[in-house]
């Protein structure tokens, strides 16, 4: 009996976290009705007042917007004209940090491309945050656009089935012939850019987007059935989560052990590059698939 209030609070907390009940469901007090000073406006008066307020706002809005924009652009222009000249050698931005990155990237990270080596090792946490943003973006778009119940949205479902049947009967010959030639080259080129990002321009982001584009071309030309045979929903979720977890795991381990020195043992940066590329490719393909069909 003594721990019953405690259990009640815990049960209320879990119910609220699970979205089943509002927290103030069992308020002990009732808000007292204040006596109004003037009679409440009727429904149509209220609507008219709202509409006139909207019209008044919309009349002043363009002028205010142009004024704010001009003031902001003017201030920025004055600030920007005081910058050091473009391409200047003695600009204060070229300090010893950049020199260190350029001189020691080759030996400390094993990468010849200073930009790729820098974003994977020296500035690795920025890239981790960016991978999280990509993961989150696909999750949010999934929340918005995913078709949940199969039978509920009848008209959309019918239209989609119809389009699938048409695409299967009369395939787009031009697109399919082109895709049959281009897709292997696209995927190969994407892999080359991904894995060769250390010694030449490219890296995780570029290779990942090209890989995503290859998958999009294949999916657009041959239909959803052809690609979900080997890139189904489970594989997609597994690859996406694996990429992000690999990156987060590596850097979590590294930060909990002092963050001293660089994680460049045993070609670690290549694995991190691959993880970033996979996350970006899955993001891009996920966007396309959700926009076109509402499912991965």
């Amino acid at each position: 009996m003594t721990d019953a209030p405690g259990k009640g609070a815990l049960r209320r907390l879990t119910d609220w976290v699970n979205g089943e009940r509002e927290p103030k469901d069992q308020t002990l007090f009732v808000m007292e009705k204040r006596r109004l000073s003037r009679p409440e406006p009727t429904e149509t008066e209220h609507a008219q007042r709202e509409r006139s307020r909207l019209h008044r706002f919309l009349r002043w809005y363009p002028a205010a917007a142009v004024l704010i924009c001009l003031v902001l652009s003017g201030a920025l222009l004055c600030a920007v004209l005081a910058l050091p000249a473009f391409g200047d050698d003695d600009a204060p931005i070229h300090n010893e940090v950049a020199e260190h990155y350029l001189e020691y990237t080759r030996e400390e990270t094993g990468a010849a491309n200073a930009v790729t080596g820098m974003i994977l090792t020296y500035r690795g946490f920025d890239t981790l945050g960016e991978s999280c943003v990509l993961f989150l973006a696909v999750s949010c778009v999934m929340l918005l656009l995913r078709r949940e119940d199969r039978g509920a949205d009848d008209r959309e479902e019918q239209k989609l089935l119809q389009e699938d049947a048409i695409a299967r009967e009369r395939p787009d010959r031009i697109l399919q012939s082109v895709a049959r030639i281009l897709t292997p080259f696209l995927l190969l080129f994407a892999l080359y850019v991904l894995l060769g990002g250390e010694n030449s321009p490219g890296g995780g982001f570029s290779g990942g987007t090209i890989l995503g584009c290859g998958l999009i071309l294949y999916a657009a030309a041959f239909g959803h059935d052809a690609i979900s045979r080997w890139f189904s929903q489970r594989v997609y979720a597994a690859v996406r989560t694996f990429g992000l977890l690999l990156y987060a795991g590596l850097y979590g381990y590294y930060i909990f052990l002092g963050a001293n020195g660089l994680p460049c043992a045993f070609r670690l940066s290549l694995a991190i590059d691959l993880a970033v590329g996979l996350v970006v490719a899955c993001t891009v393909y996920g966007f396309f698939s959700l926009f076109q069909r509402g499912e991965i």
């Binding site: 924009c69 391409g87 950049a98 350029l102």
Partner: protein, 126 residues
């Protein structure tokens, strides 16, 4: 006047970036169509990236790839380039999310023009 022209020509990328930012911002505020607002937002984003990456350029510099030929002392600054690389990919994520929102709005209200949307939403509240 001569000084002003000289200053503009010295910082041409930065001035162009600020002008683009102003154009994009104006479009985002004033356009009535939601898709054009998203295009304006993308132009703003690209302007910021142009400003950032133009800060790292050194006159006569080459791309910062330490090749077999040894260390060339005229590399450009790699740091702004790395920052912008992240920014470009985040920008496309935001664009995708905004377009998904526009699709849902269209499914709900049947229009993507802002004035009609405000009226429909206002009418719904009453």
């Amino acid at each position: 006047m001569q000084n002003f022209l000289h200053a503009v020509l010295n910082n041409r990328f930065a001035v162009a970036a600020v002008l683009l930012f102003g154009i994009g911002f104006l479009n985002m505020l004033l356009q009535q169509n939601l898709v054009k607002k998203v295009v304006g937002f993308n132009i703003m984003d690209s302007a910021v990236f142009l400003l950032l990456a133009s800060l790292g350029y050194i006159e006569g510099g080459v791309a910062p790839i330490v090749g077999e030929a040894g260390y060339n002392p005229l590399y450009i600054n790699p740091i702004p380039s790395g920052l912008v690389l992240t920014g470009i990919v985040v920008s496309v994520s935001i664009t995708a999310f905004s377009l998904a929102l526009i699709q849902r709005i269209y499914r709900r209200y049947g229009t993507v023009v802002l004035s009609e949307l405000l009226e429909a939403a206002g009418r719904e509240e009453d």
